[in-house]
């Protein structure tokens, strides 16, 4: 297991805490909570698979470039592929801003 933390600049606000997904094989859960800092997305990733720091950074950077949504993001990952990660992030963003 590896814990990774990232910060991305953000411009949109999270309206409500949102929870998506399950820590199941090939899946992850995303907890998105509001935070005091309105201009940053703080991301903590706990992943069962070690050594994918670069891919996590690339996946998250790409998402937050398109969706600069501020808040506390907690990702509990059980071996999801980048595509599944992006899908869950989009679901969370949609639910938190709609």
């Amino acid at each position: 297991m590896q814990t990774l933390t990232y910060r991305f600049p953000a411009t949109q606000n999270t309206r409500r805490p949102t929870h998506i997904g399950v820590v199941a094989s090939g899946d992850l859960e995303v907890l998105l909570d509001t935070s005091q800092d309105g201009d940053v997305a703080e991301v903590r990733v706990r992943t069962s698979v070690d050594g994918f720091d670069t891919i996590w950074h690339a996946t998250l950077e790409r998402f937050f470039t398109h969706t600069p949504l501020a808040g506390r993001w907690e990702l509990n990952d059980f071996g999801a592929t980048p595509a599944v990660v992006t899908l869950r992030l989009r679901q969370a963003a949609e639910a938190a801003t709609s």
Binding site: M1, P17, H19, V22, V23, A24, S25, D27, E29, L31, D33, R46, T47, S48, E74, N76, D77, F78
Partner: protein, 565 residues
Amino acid sequence: MTVDWQQVLARHSFIEGDALERATALLDPNSIRVLCGPFDRIESPWLEPQGIVPQADDGVVIARGTLDGRPAVIASIEQGFQGGGTGEVSGAKISHALRLAADDNRAGLPTAAVLLFETGGVRLQEANLGLNAVAEICSAVLDLRPMAPVIGVVAGEVGSFGGMSIAAALCTRLIITPQGRIGLNGPAVIEQEGGVGEFDSSDRALIWSIDGGEQRAAIGLADKLVADDRDLIRAAVVDAVAAGVPPAGSHRSERVDALGSRLASFDPRNPPAPQDLRRLWGSTFEAHDGARPATATASSAPRGRGRRWLAALAGTEPVAVIPSVLRADTADATYLAVVPDPQNPFHRARNGEVGLTESWALAVAIDDVIGSGTKRAIVAVVDLPSQAYGRIEEMAGLHHAIATTTDAYHRARNAGHPTVAIVVGHALSGGFLAHGLQAQQILALDDPGVEIHAMHKSAAARITLRTVAELDELAKTIVPLSYHVRDWAQLGFCDGLLPVSDADDPTADDISAVRKAVDAAIGAARSGPRDLSNRLESPGALTNRKASRAIRDAMSAQWRATETP
């Protein structure tokens, strides 16, 4: 069940939903309120130190709401997270939700409970805390059941295995789908323990013929078989709740007589096929006078610790309820032990395992004590390697047989019989759930030969994909994983760790010291609570069950805040 393809195509699958979706599908629209949800962040404290990613709600959704207008609480297990395994937090969530529902019923607010079983059993990464959590859930089901229906649902695809199946068998009514399975020992574990000749875990037809929903409904170990459809399952749950609380004594797990008759109906040396069992037993529970299960005619038991301590503590020669279950009576207490019986006709229960007839015989002996009209104590003397891992056991429903024993211990406790367990040797897994973990007071000898755990070490290592050396190393820092009784004693449910000079061949001083401790425990049980709530108030619990206490406090507060006016 014939397949209706129109229904299959039109259905809205229940099985495909996650734990929250399943709970939502059952409750009335917009009535759902989740308690101790992900943003409360009470996750398992034991997983991250082992390098395992936790889930924010520990894989159990507790949801309050209404079911066709009736207040209810649902505990829904997430099958995707750690195979639905019961850990400290997930277990505490279920038992505390049941306790709060019972409190509401006592206060005149009828509240039913629905448990969605999707679990492989005790989460072996939290071993002893998970095992205890299952015992507390069983007790909480039994405390609630006389006041409000507790409905179990086994939808699939994981099914219900391990100790949680005992809780499922204690439910007022059990609903299952053809995809659902229920059993105590899963096929892979039986193959691992007993070899491929005992159970071929790659044979799916065999698995479903024994554990599958159709079979369980056909032999009366489930009450209703429903197709995988949200509307149909919801309707079945609503009906099951509306049917209310059956009269005392008529619950499946209270029917000790019917269990005896069922076990008497076949010869374990020449067992029927699962299909034949449907004809033999049918789906109802009937008792036939004088029918007794097959047992060896005479005991040739080796003199193990269980027998030795039973005789020593009672100060009298034990009598056999059956050759593998011994009983010894003093003026005011009955001592019970499960012991090896090399002639046991159930070949997987010859080394002191708790099998079908052992479960039945314990329940018979306990009911005999309850029927004696006294308030005599019951002392479980525990030295057992496990429950019986066998195909016949699963076919006949060992989870149900152990539920019958669990129910009997609970019944004795509630009738005012002080119940005490004294562990003198091994106390493992489902065997300990049957015989020991329902006691109000638990004592253990402080001896290296005493081992209390959810599973024996080599099997636990295999199942969690570790070597035995890795498991030993982790157990040095993760207390519930440890096989040392002194570590177990720190978890908050040990009421006395008793030093002895020789646990195999106790001296007169050993016997008198342990007897004194047992008598003190009987006194404490007599004056203490009849449920297991003291296990959360002990000094050990303050340190090692902080998460369980956090769940208790948070859920109680949220429950009050979401009380329906």
